[in-house]
């Protein structure tokens, strides 16, 4: 973990000095993470991809902006979140029929691939997935950043532009909602896995 963040800090320093290879490596390290984050709040894969591309194009074109970055995690997550917001609004305003059609197709695709790729989930953690589905988009992104990306509350506060306490509260509320159902699942197949690990 530590080694990883050290590597990223070194990459950032190199990229800020104009090293194209380092910049590309940053892109390749962050693409999947940003994609997962963008999708965590319910955006379509295609739209998140487009926004990530635009985000990095802007970074390439405006090196000044890039030079001010100190924490890549929070900077990139924050930008993606803001840009996703604005492109969502743009999409709503336009109400472009073709665009909507494409979006719907992509959503259907991702549902289908999800089903194929996750027999495990289907069998064993479908119950938690349905509970996660019930969370609000903001609760989902909070859960994602805290437990998948392992970000600190301070980093999350920076990304959401709110106070540390507000983030804590929303993570706790989301956990409470999930927890009611986790504890009901005592006899669930997943608890069998617990034995396997021991």
């Amino acid at each position: 973990m530590l080694k990883h963040s050290l590597h990223i800090a070194q990459l950032l320093a190199k990229a800020q000095k104009g090293d194209q290879l380092a910049f590309q490596e940053i892109y390749e390290l962050y693409y999947d993470r940003l994609l997962r984050f963008g999708c965590s709040m319910g955006n379509s894969h295609g739209m998140v991809h487009d926004v990530i591309q635009e985000l990095f194009i802007r970074l390439l074109q405006q090196p000044n902006r890039f030079l001010t970055i100190t924490n890549l995690d929070t900077y990139l997550f924050k930008c993606l979140r803001r840009n996703l917001g604005s492109s969502l609004q743009r999409a709503r305003k336009k109400r472009n029929q073709a665009y909507k059609h494409r979006e719907r197709q992509q959503i259907e695709m991702s549902v289908e691939t999800r089903l194929i790729h996750s027999e495990y989930r289907k069998a064993q953690s479908a119950w938690l997935s349905t509970q996660l589905d019930l969370l609000t988009p903001h609760q989902k992104e909070s859960i994602y950043l805290r437990f998948y990306e392992n970000l600190s509350y301070d980093e999350m506060a920076e990304i959401f532009s709110v106070s540390n306490q507000v983030v804590r509260n929303s993570v706790f509320r989301a956990l409470k909602k999930l927890r009611k159902n986790i504890s009901k699942q005592k006899t669930h197949p997943l608890s069998g896995l617990y034995g396997l690990f021991l």
Binding site: L21, E28, I57, L128, S129, Y148, F172, I182, S183, Q185
Partner: protein
């Protein structure tokens, strides 16, 4: 991993990186740690189980298949092209408006200074970038032109930092690598691999270069390449296999219609067909960084065919024992063949 501590809430435990590491990637070490923890704190068993289910569920919900590295390189190519396009569009639309001469003069001075500074910088920083792999490890390197190089264990690939895809693309190799080179039809730029005394020049193709040992071997899978070594030069077509010996400055082996085994390592499998055991041992030594000791050296000259995994010695050894019909004893880095 921290000292014994007391997680008091589900939130605290589930967000603990050490706990996540155990749930997601259990190893003997972290398993022992958490078993010990449960022994000492049996009252936390429910909490541990709950947190474990939570982490597994969250990872299955938000997880995605990682994007293929080749695809990622293509995505990157797209943004670097698009960033240049939009920049030139912006500047051409500027030209249509009234030209602000004063600002332009200032801008061009700044630009000149920046270019000079840029020159100075590139000449300052070290100009070679090296990728290397340890024993039992291999790596895919994506070059700035999106060409792919799969580097075998214990190998090194160097490229110049100011690598220009328009002009000639050159890399240096020690060890073994498999190349998938993208063709540049517009500029016709060639791609050159220099390995020991041999240089391989290509337009766009897939091939394997192995410069371990006294010979440098090249196997061509697709496309066409020009091979230059010493004073000799030859062209290769797909399926050709050529070995060059630097000692005698000659091509020592040419074979046509050779098949995949030369590059099978890139899929994580070592395939050696009808070769002396000596050669097979050499390859295994190169991959795993170990050393064979043979009591009865007559075994070395018999020929055989093997298929071995390249990252799991504990699986490769029993297969090898069966093929040889002999027991192999492992003492740290030495393998003793009975």
């Amino acid at each position: 991993m921290g000292k014994q501590y007391q997680p008091n809430s589900l939130e605290e435990l589930a967000a603990d990186p050490a706990f996540q590491a155990w749930v997601l990637n259990p190893t003997p070490d972290n398993r022992a740690y958490w078993l010990d923890f449960l022994d000492k704190h049996p009252e936390k068993a429910d909490l541990v189980e709950e947190a474990k289910n939570l982490i597994l569920g969250i990872h299955h919900y938000f997880g995605k298949e990682p994007t293929d590295p080749h695809q990622l390189a293509a995505y990157y190519e797209e943004i670097s092209q698009r960033s240049e396009q939009t920049l030139s569009q912006q500047s051409s639309s500027l030209r249509l408006q009234r030209i602000p001469y004063r600002q332009l003069a200032v801008a061009s001075i700044v630009l000149l200074l920046a270019t000079a500074l840029g020159w100075w910088w590139t000449n300052q920083s070290d100009s070679i970038h090296t990728y290397s792999t340890a024993y039992g490890e291999w790596q895919t390197v994506i070059l700035p032109d999106s060409s792919r190089v799969k580097l075998n264990a214990n190998s090194e690939l160097s490229i110049s930092r100011n690598w220009k895809e328009e002009s000639n693309r050159t890399v240096w190799l020690t060890g073994e690598a498999y190349f998938e080179i993208l063709r540049k039809p517009t500029s016709g730029a060639t791609f050159t691999v220099i390995a020991d005394e041999v240089s391989v020049e290509v337009l766009g193709t897939s091939f394997n270069v192995n410069s371990r040992g006294e010979k440098t071997e090249v196997f061509l899978e697709e496309g066409k390449i020009r091979l230059a070594a010493g004073n000799e030069e030859t062209f290769m077509v797909p399926g050709d296999f050529i070995a060059y010996s630097a000692d005698i400055n000659q091509f020592v082996e040419k074979r046509q219609h050779a098949t995949k085994p030369y590059s099978s390592w890139k899929d994580g499998v070592l395939v050696v067909q009808e070769s002396p055991i000596r050669e097979i041992f050499n390859k295994i030594e190169d991959i795993y960084g170990i050393e064979f000791q043979v009591k009865d050296s007559s075994v070395l000259e018999t020929t055989t065919t093997v298929r071995l995994p390249m990252d799991k010695l504990e699986i490769a050894l029993p297969i090898l024992e069966k093929t040889l019909g002999r027991k192999i004893q492992q003492k740290e880095k030495r393998l003793i063949v009975q």
